[in-house]
Symmetry: C2
Subunit: 234 residues, 2 copies
DNA sequence: AAACTGCGTTGACAGCTGTCAACCCTCCTC
DNA sequence: GAGGAGGGTTGACAGCTGTCAACGCAGTTT
């Protein structure tokens, strides 16, 4: 495997973003290797987990093996939600990842925060459903690049400059499973964007956005905010 | 319009719910007409709502008008979740519907119930993402029929017999927007299922499942439960 | 009764994306 | 260094599904 951005770091000290709780890590924090399945859909689980570092994806399988990645999680996101004690989704690492289990006390204390996370996830999943159902292959790949840059760029102090370059944790196959495409289509789109000067990559996973604005346009915006307010029925 | 299950009620008074508060319903309950947009994505809203009767869909729009229905709600489901006071999704009625606003007191009292509803919705949305990204047109339509029969069949005392016949609240266009297809493809699939004896409908919205088992098979199951338990990382 | 509208169905055709295959490259093992 | 495995790219081709168009039908209006 090509060294991930954690390879060196995890050898020495905590890598990038030893954020959240750099020193004295809580006892429940844990480092997990690449391509490791943390939770199985339908499996029993009594904890919530927070991503401290790295990349984790949630997925679902059809009986014949078709896979759909439903969300890509970066630092800060929570996962491990259950219904009747059973995991809603399969969770696997795409990089060396650091995660933290949330204890019951924390759960209760952060109850509204957890509801907020649930709503955020709901919102993301809705947007992704729109992508899956109503966007073309090009729009899907462009959307993915914009989204992943937001999740995994080391948000530079100014915001913009650092956003241009980031590590694509997903393989072409992962991207395909996320976007409802095939590896070939993903590859073709990426290389077309490269030829057109929208993006650049030497290593397949080292991505740089050369023209974020055109890329966002190519992503086919979802309307972010409606100008008018809603019409509450009461 | 063909009579919905509410047609009688609406015949007495003006068809499209001018009725707001028919008989002695709880103060916050309300009847809304067909094809009425209750909430706009991005609009302000301070209440949660519960569907008491009828059919409500959540949707999202792209700038050019492409629409994606992200969930279909029947009796019992909650909607109106917000992030920063802004609606996550657009909500519109597909039938005359009865809804109920949940007050703050109820909200606090039902906090865990609400988290449960959020998780249920998350689960449904995930399954739908898998449908959108990884199922064929036939599988999508078959899945939709099975799903809608579960939501809208008047759950007979025995369960099964009543499940066979139900009112399809969605038009072909709604189905298309839900499944990420076109009306033509939806229509072709439905009529093929009809020719093959899987379903039957005289009126386009009066659906009957003649062979639920074959239909479920045609839907391409998502693996419901994993035998083994998950592997919690702590 | 005629015309109109919305919705649904059906056919012909096109094209986007999937399928199949070959090949390249890097990394790893032996 | 040879060989193998995994991931990525590219080309040829096919087919599923979208596009475009015509038509039917029911309900409503004029």
């Amino acid at each position: 495997m090509p060294e991930t951005q954690f390879a060196v770091a995890s050898a020495a000290a905590p890598p990038l973003a030893s954020l959240t709780r750099p020193a004295r890590l809580p006892a429940r924090s844990r480092v997990v290797g690449e391509n490791f399945t943390l939770l199985f859909e339908g499996g029993r689980n009594r904890s919530l987990f927070r991503v401290l570092d790295g990349c984790i994806v949630l997925s679902q399988l059809l009986d014949d093996g078709r896979r759909q990645i439903t969300d890509v999680l970066g630092p800060g996101r929570l996962f491990g939600f259950t219904i009747d004690g059973r995991n809603i989704a399969t969770a696997e690492t795409l990089s060396i990842a650091r995660i933290e289990a949330l204890g019951d006390a924390e759960l209760l204390a952060n109850n509204s925060a957890i509801a907020g996370e649930l709503k955020t996830t709901l919102h993301r999943l809705q947007a992704h459903a729109t992508l899956l159902g109503r966007k073309t292959a090009s729009e899907k790949v462009a959307s993915a690049l914009v989204e992943l840059s937001r999740i995994f760029s080391h948000s530079g102090r100014n915001g913009n400059p650092a956003r241009l370059s980031f590590h694509l944790h997903l393989t072409r196959a992962d991207l395909a499973d996320w976007l409802g495409l095939t590896v070939e289509t993903v590859s073709r789109c990426l290389n077309r964007f490269k030829r057109e000067g929208l993006i650049d990559f030497s290593h397949p996973k080292t991505m740089r956005l050369l023209d974020p604005e055109r890329l966002e346009a190519a992503a086919g915006f979802t309307r972010q905010r409606l100008a008018g307010s809603g019409r509450p029925p009461s």
